[in-house]
């Protein structure tokens, strides 16, 4: 042990020459599975770009490849390297809790990014940085209400909802945000029925087909994301039903294209670039000792046919 200490000391002394160049902080990140979808790929590129643009920050960028064991090993490695903060995109919201606890015991602040860990681990986490699903849902309600007002049907419109997979926090929160906000902005619009589309386009199309048979008058469809929204749109097109306003809670490329074609009204823009930059900034602020809310959301703006020119097409 003594020898190791000496060796370690010698090595660190030798390294001071290079390390002292920047009065910097080191931030480690272990991501879920880069390359599995373009959201995560874009996130990583944006994260590295943001870190390179900041002279005070050095980053260790790791990717668990979807493997919990590898992610836990990476957490241990980052703790061992004594980084100043760790950002984690959990592969499994519960399996990483002990590893997060280890970091917090080593006095390294942990920032959870994109999707939160389970509540049992909240005590060991400095901050969560990610999108606010409830806000996304309530903004979708506003988009829909504004459209109905423009059309002059705000006092009679009937809406159906296609929600995400039951049991997922994301699905529950997006539905909740919409259901709470809609009566506030458009008290006379009626939400007639909600059915799960399981984040799946084909399933949503079937759900919408059933809705179309059941209800002669549907003015709006709210979907948990554009993938499901476009499924519903296809069903409406096939049935020859026009004049329905489609709104999603997260903009996907398919939704963006449908908006360009004029079939789909609007959605909420969730950018992986904003997500990555928010995570890095949250880590920097945490290291600097700034007071942050535990749930530190980044902004997810509204996107409709009217303002879609301001946004680039989503990569996912």
């Amino acid at each position: 042990m003594n020898l190791t200490m000496k060796v370690a000391l010698a090595c660190t002394t030798a390294m001071i020459g290079t390390a002292a160049a920047a009065q910097s902080m080191t931030i480690g990140i272990t991501q879920n599975n880069v390359g599995v979808d373009s959201y995560q790929t874009t996130y990583e590129q944006a994260f590295i770009a943001a870190a390179e643009a900041n002279d005070d920050v050095e980053v260790v960028v790791l990717d668990a490849g979807g493997d919990v064991a590898r992610q836990i090993a990476q957490m241990e490695d980052l703790i061992q390297q004594e980084v100043d903060a760790i950002i984690i995109w959990p592969t499994n919201g519960e399996a990483v809790i002990p590893a997060v606890r280890k970091a917090s015991q080593a006095d390294i602040p942990v920032i959870v990014t994109n999707s939160n860990i389970a509540e049992a681990g909240f005590d060991f986490v400095a901050s969560f940085s990610g999108p606010d699903n409830i806000t996304q849902g309530s903004r979708s309600a506003e988009i829909m209400c504004d459209k109905f007002t423009d059309m002059g049907i705000q006092d009679e419109a009937r809406v159906v909802q296609i929600s995400g997979q039951p049991g997922y926090t994301t699905a529950i929160e997006r539905a909740q945000g919409f259901e709470e906000r809609l009566p506030e902005v458009c008290p006379n619009v009626e939400l007639v029925e909600t059915q799960p589309g399981d984040w799946n386009r084909e399933k949503s199309q079937q759900v919408m087909e059933a809705f179309l048979v059941k209800y002669d008058d549907i003015d709006g469809v709210y979907a948990g994301d554009d993938n499901m929204g476009v499924g519903a749109l296809n069903a409406a097109k096939a049935a020859g039903r026009d004049g329905i306003t489609f709104v999603g809670a997260t903009n996907f490329a398919v939704g963006y294209e449908a908006m360009e074609a004029g079939d789909y009204w609007g959605s909420i823009y969730q950018s992986p670039v904003d997500d990555a930059e928010a995570a890095l900034q949250t880590a920097i602020d945490t290291i600097n000792g700034e007071d942050l809310p535990f749930l530190n959301y980044f902004d997810t703006p509204k996107i409709t046919q009217d303002n879609m020119g301001d946004f680039t097409k989503p990569v996912f």
């Binding site: 042990m1 190791t4 060796v7 370690a8 090595c11 660190t12 390294m15 290079t18 390390a19 080191t26 880069v34 390359g35 050095e58 980053v59 260790v60 960028v61 790791l62 990717d63 668990a64 490849g65 979807g66 493997d67 919990v68 064991a69 590898r70 836990i72 090993a73 990476q74 241990e76 490695d77 061992q80 390297q81 004594e82 980084v83 592969t91 499994n92 919201g93 519960e94 399996a95 990483v96 809790i97 002990p98 590893a99 606890r101 280890k102 389970a118 049992a120 997979q165 049991g167």
Partner: protein, 333 residues
Amino acid sequence: MTPDKRKDLLKMSAIWAFILVELAFFSIIGDRLSVSDKAFMDFENMLLLLKQSAPIGIIALGMTVIMINGNIDLSVGATFALAAIVLLESMTWPFMQTLGDWAIPLAWLFALLTGVAMGAINGLIVWKTGVDAFIVTLGAMLGFRGLVFMFNGEQPTSHLNWTLVDFAEAQFLGLHTATWFLLATALLLWLLMTKTVHGRNAYAIGNNREAAVNAGIRVGPHFLLNFMLIGFLAALSAVVFYSESGSVNPNDGMLYELWAITAVVLGGTKLAGGYGSIISTLGGVIAIQLLRKGLGHVGADTQTVNLVIGLILIAVLILDRQLNRKGQEELKI
């Protein structure tokens, strides 16, 4: 020393030489590239290395026995996930919860029995039908994974028990719990393969199955035992790992069979069977984890790590082929 012995020695020590090269590389180059102020060859880091080698390592050690037999087991990753689900789910059963912390050893037992049962299924089919182990375990890989998904759909199965986590994170004489399990498994399997009749039979069967049958070795039951052994070890690996993490995704353990086989082959065990060593496989496991850790240390991404390991694997096989050539093209040492 005869050339044959010298070659054998070279083969056995190749993996350890490779590990030394890796250590030297990451210590010299790595510490210059890394943003961390800590040396790679830090004592704590090396302890972590052993601990992180355990999940795949325990499986790879068992895979060595199977491969010396001339068989292969592709279902270990799925068995790993299945045992993990049994481990975590059984602790939530009502009668188990009344037992308090005594539920832990019982949950371990259930998980290990699951592994043994899955291995027995493989072994029995191989024995009784004579179908190649590759095909049987390929089917088992898909089937067991199907069971995993049937159990809880796409959702993770979770049960966080801090007593269990504390046990798994403990360090005894400096070594982590997982490391102890890895080293104990290595020791026991080494004894099995070098000091017992069963071990000698394993080599004999792998070398020439027909000759082994003629020599009176009961090949079927032998296979059955070995498949039960690797089922047990896949479950043991799950027990050790999930004691510390407390939640299993339905796709956990995917590709573990391939990592385990990679480690075994890196250690010099022949795919055709009849030749191999437990200790060299331990070297293979450490070499892989060292690469993952070291490349992470210097800031390479996961794709690069996989690429490098793939290249090294092919290089090892070419080297192995050269060393085994006879006659004119024989490698002169």
